[in-house]
């Protein structure tokens, strides 16, 4: 296939960026989207131009590094996959593809398609843990039975890969889906209940400080989330927050 790519190029955080057009030919439908970008980069490099910077690592949908806004959608047109799992057979010969970084005030661009998502880490520093020392001298693992239903729900919430697609999809750039996934994982487990109040207050406070927007329940985040993290988690976090505020 022959394609036209319209790619966001930006030298660094302080320089203004712009869309630049590239033609790429002989793209095989078996290629992954990132294989295609590798091919473009090899060609640019061979022409003495600077390759396009983008984040990636595992290339199998689990590390959450890859983060491209493709034709206006985080991780592109397919559902329940990350950018690195998208294959070129989704596109047609002659297509024009827009490739941009995830956009949000709390995710400043570092270069080209690479953004700084350390705001996500800082929200986790504020409370995304259970305060137990790693001595190994805790109680036997089977001393705390957990209902399978709750354990499964906690697992589903815990599969969030921290990619930020939910934020990029949201017109308010809200991080509610991401934060609620962690709050829910722990809220559903007896081990996590002990600190539930402090956790939700601290994580929400940090989320607001980082400049993420408010949630207006549009649900765009759930649709674009590659791991199918459910809006149910946001509802659970809202309940947790309300009851924590009443106590607080």
């Amino acid at each position: 296939m022959n394609l036209t790519l319209k790619i966001w190029r930006q030298t660094d955080a302080d320089t203004k960026g712009k869309i630049v057009d590239y033609k790429i030919n002989d793209v095989s439908p078996d290629m992954s989207f990132l294989d295609m970008l590798d091919m473009l980069n090899e060609q640019l490099n061979n022409k003495g131009e600077e390759p396009v910077a983008f984040d990636h690592d595992c290339r199998e949908g689990i590390c959450g590094s890859c983060s491209l806004q493709i034709n206006g959608e985080p991780h592109g047109p397919d559902r329940y996959i990350t950018t690195c799992q998208l294959h070129m057979r989704t596109f047609k010969d002659g297509d024009t593809i827009f490739i941009e970084p995830f956009r949000a005030k709390a995710f400043p661009v570092i270069k080209d398609l690479v953004v700084d998502r350390s705001s996500f880490d800082r929200v986790q520093h504020a409370g995304g843990f259970i305060s137990v020392n790693t001595s190994g001298n805790t109680i036997d693992a089977n001393a705390i039975p957990v209902k399978k239903h709750d354990a499964d729900k906690a697992f589903d919430a815990a599969t969030c890969i921290g990619c930020g697609a939910c934020v990029a999809a949201c017109k308010n750039a809200s991080a509610m889906l991401f934060v609620s996934a962690k709050v829910s994982q722990f809220a559903l487990l007896p081990q996590g209940r002990v600190e539930a109040t402090d956790r939700v207050m601290n994580m929400v406070r940090q989320m607001d400080e980082e400049g993420f927007g408010n949630c207006t329940n549009t649900g765009a985040c759930e649709i674009e989330c590659p791991k199918g993290i459910s809006l149910e988690n946001i509802a659970r976090m809202n309940r947790e927050y309300l009851s924590a505020s009443l106590k607080g």
Binding site: T11, D12, S28, P29, D30, M31, D35, M36, D38, M39, E42, N45, E49, E50, P51, A53, D57, C58, R59, E60, I62, S65, I81, H87, I110, K111, R117, S118, F120, D121, Q124, H125, G127, G128, F129, I130, S131, V132, N133, T134, G136, N137, T138, I139, A141, N142, P145, V146, K148, A151, D152, A154, F155, A158, I161, G162, F186, L189, Q191, G192
Partner: protein, 590 residues
Amino acid sequence: MATLDSKTPEGHISQKWTNHKNKINLVNPANKRNIDVIVVGTGLAGGSAAATLAELGYNVKAFCFQDSPRRAHSIAAQGGINAAKNYQGDGDSTHRLFYDTVKGGDYRSRESNVYRLAEVSTNIIDQCVAQGVPFAREYGGLLDNRSFGGVLVSRTFYAKGQTGQQLLLGAYSAMNRQIGRGKIKMYNRHEMLDLVIVDGKARGIIARNLVTGAIERHSAHAVVLGTGGYGNVFYLSTNAMGSNVTAAWKIHKKGAYFANPCYTQIHPTCIPVSGDHQSKLTLMSESLRNDGRIWVPAKLEDAKAIREGKLKPTDLKEEDRDYYLERRYPSFGNLVPRDVASRAAKERCDAGFGVNKTGEAVYLDFAAAIQRYGKEQARVKHLDENDAQLVKKLGTEVVANKYGNLFQMYEKIVDQNPYETPMMIYPAVHYTMGGIWVDYNLMTTIEGCYAIGEANFSDHGANRLGASALMQGLADGYFVLPYTIGHYLANDIRTGKISTDLPEFEKAENNVRSQIEHLMNSKGSKTVDHFHKRLGKIMWDKVGMARNEKGLNEAITEIAALRDEFYSDVRVPGTANGLNQELEKATTCC
């Protein structure tokens, strides 16, 4: 030259760790506040070590090249983690886990280390559950187990196909708690480019800030490497793209010994390469070999016709298929050990029987399993077992239940439906058993420099059993290193801060600077990937699954020539002052 002293404690193997812990020096909590430790790598090994060291009171500086510790390569592990809990009451014990691991490693592991690993394995599960890691559970609310290849008990704990992710996020949460308290200073998007040795002791590192390009000096009283394996020297592997061996290589050049680099695990069931454009391979879980039958066409002309797309595998009659594992190893059949299955696939493909465009793929066929399960279900449900369509439908359901997510992953990548046509698989580089040599305390041959997780060599001998790498990473990081390192650091309580103005830091920094300058100024004609691919090809062809003296000697000459060519003809575009992914690739190659 350093002498190799494993420092294995005296006594019966089952007593060594206890005795050792009772004897080693401790650092009192007030003194720990005056001691800095650098941990490079935040995978299962580095992440858990950083968290525990900080909890104990040391000042930790942790480094990773990703944008967050949560993205380390450990995140991709699928199957599970072993522990001798004996929750299933099937006769498991510390000794049995120890024995299985040593036997699985072809008796090449250091037994004292493996025994300790088996001993602390149960603590890992307790620890992770307390941290909120959502392992799979049974309806009664207790933890579930599965069994893995090569063992007779069910001791593998898992979280669907995402065990590595859940364990890493557990270690990440423990780190986050310490980062929040200011006990860990986290350096994301930083790459260690050299080790600094002062008076024979590891006292710091030189790192490049990948965002600003700044070359930074960081000092500490000890340096711990949890930087992963060297699988990516083969270019194509199941490892993450960023996984690289720079850190281990740099300390090797500074005097740390490397052990067993020849032991690379090549996993038989990976999705084959589809063309030259590919840079990364995907693992298909080993569990598929329980039900899939492996075959290639029996006749060369059929293999050729299949490669050219003129013939479909489903058109081939039974007698025209060669179920070569069943033929050669009637008692094990498709369940031969990983290394045997891998070598046999390569042998068939080298002989011209490969079945995809590149000629490097064999079939893994579920048609027989679908039939078998379908008939069984028809009988159980009192339906007509001669109704071919019904049998296929019922059988497909059973297979989908067991392997649905893997089949889906396969279909996304290959665009073929594995329920209708056999899967194609080929062996790929997966894990490296060899690594930096360490003693019982996990110290390398450089004083004060430690190696943990996949980066070291000691626990898996010549072959690693499934579900044991995650166990080793967390054992090293949570329960071994944080204590053994105290024995060494006890001598440093009065040392005071290590100054980064020491001439050793300056020299190391200058070396790194001149290397980067050389790369930027080389302005040659070929990209870094070009060299990496060629290196991978030499490694795969001559240092891969089958090796001989001639090939190995050729590889040495070819790699030396490639190295010279790299230094004279590589091209790194852009500048060194800022994010430059091509430069990152280049620095990991030299």
